[in-house]
Amino acid sequence: MRQPALSRSWILVVVFVAALFAPASAEDKQPAPGGIQWFATWTDAAAEARRTERPILLIAAAPHCRNISGMW
């Protein structure tokens, strides 16, 4: 049966968010480099980009899942 567009969209979001911020596996953690150290506000990130003239990797996500905190 064809799924409603909203449900498909929801699935994509769930998969993206859950996977995007999942901690690296123990195997991945061993060799350098470790993980990405994120700036968490645009003010800080933009200032740092101006200061260092480096490009910006920008990600945004809501820190809750269906209004339940503790999960992207």
Binding site: L6, I36, W42, T52, E53, I59, A62, S69
Partner: protein, 262 residues
């Protein structure tokens, strides 16, 4: 998208030439305006997630902006490699004028409340800088910053700071004294428990030793999305966002939406 984009070794290595920003959607009206200017889905509203690679001016897109890296690099096993290659090309185009992390400020979450929540989302320990007052807090932040950007610590901790003791409510085994406390977040990021704590006058060596101890003592709990949401609803957990959620895939508070994990 598959899950390997931002934990892929080549992407992480390439990210060292970037300023990496992970904003909290629906937690800032100002940032919502920025995110909305970068990407809007078919709904025309700000959606849950955004991905962009931008020039140092913070405005010029360097790749296709979208809801995830898949918008720019597609799907499948080779997509991550395409992203890493593209980032390396951008690094060469924008090498920066300073060593990547020299003099970088402490990468702080907006406040302790959001810090604890994001730590729970990530399954990482949270370092809380506790100052006697604002000036003291800022001095402690500056002192900790070089350690935060040490290669071995990057991606291993999150950071928040305060000089208001009320911000520490809900955090067990954290002394209400100035210094650096590392906490393990609770399941829903509404509370936490102290792992280690060192005083404000601790040396960098002492702080690093505390970070190492905290890392060894911390174990991220396994979480399944369906169980987390179901159990959270039963427990009465509810995250209040700063601004209204507009993603059409996320039901308004109290309304039934698509079942989690489906």
């Amino acid at each position: 998208m598959d899950g390997s984009f931002l934990s892929d070794r080549a992407v992480v290595a390439a990210s060292r030439g970037f300023v990496c920003a992970r904003l909290l959607t629906y937690e800032s009206a100002t940032e919502a305006t920025l995110l909305g200017s970068l990407f809007q889905g078919r709904s025309g509203e700000l959606e849950n997630t955004t991905f962009a690679l931008l020039a140092p001016d913070g405005k010029t897109p360097l790749a296709r902006t979208g809801r995830s890296p898949s918008f720019a690099y597609g799907h499948g096993s080779e997509a991550v490699g395409r992203m890493a290659e593209a980032m390396e090309m951008i690094r060469k185009r924008y090498p920066g004028k300073r060593a990547a992390t020299a003099g970088a400020p402490l990468p702080l979450l907006p406040d302790v409340r959001r810090g604890v929540n994001v730590a729970a989302c990530d399954g990482l320990p949270l370092v809380i800088v506790i100052g006697r007052d604002e000036a003291h807090r800022r001095a402690l932040e500056a002192n900790l910053a070089p350690l935060a950007w040490a290669e071995g610590n990057q991606g291993a901790f999150l950071y928040a700071s305060t000089h208001e003791l009320k911000d520490l409510e809900g955090l067990a085994e954290v002394k209400r004294t100035a210094g650096y406390a590392v906490i393990a977040p609770g399941t829903y990021g509404a509370d936490g428990k102290g792992l280690v704590q060192v005083p404000a006058d601790a040396t960098a060596k002492t702080i690093q030793a505390a970070l190492n101890r905290a890392r060894g003592a911390f174990a991220a709990p396994e979480k399944s999305q369906g169980d987390h949401v179901r159990d959270g609803k039963r427990a009465g957990v509810h995250w209040d966002t700063e601004i209204p959620v507009t993603d059409p895939g996320i039901p308004p508070a109290g309304k039934r939406g698509p079942p989690p994990g489906r």
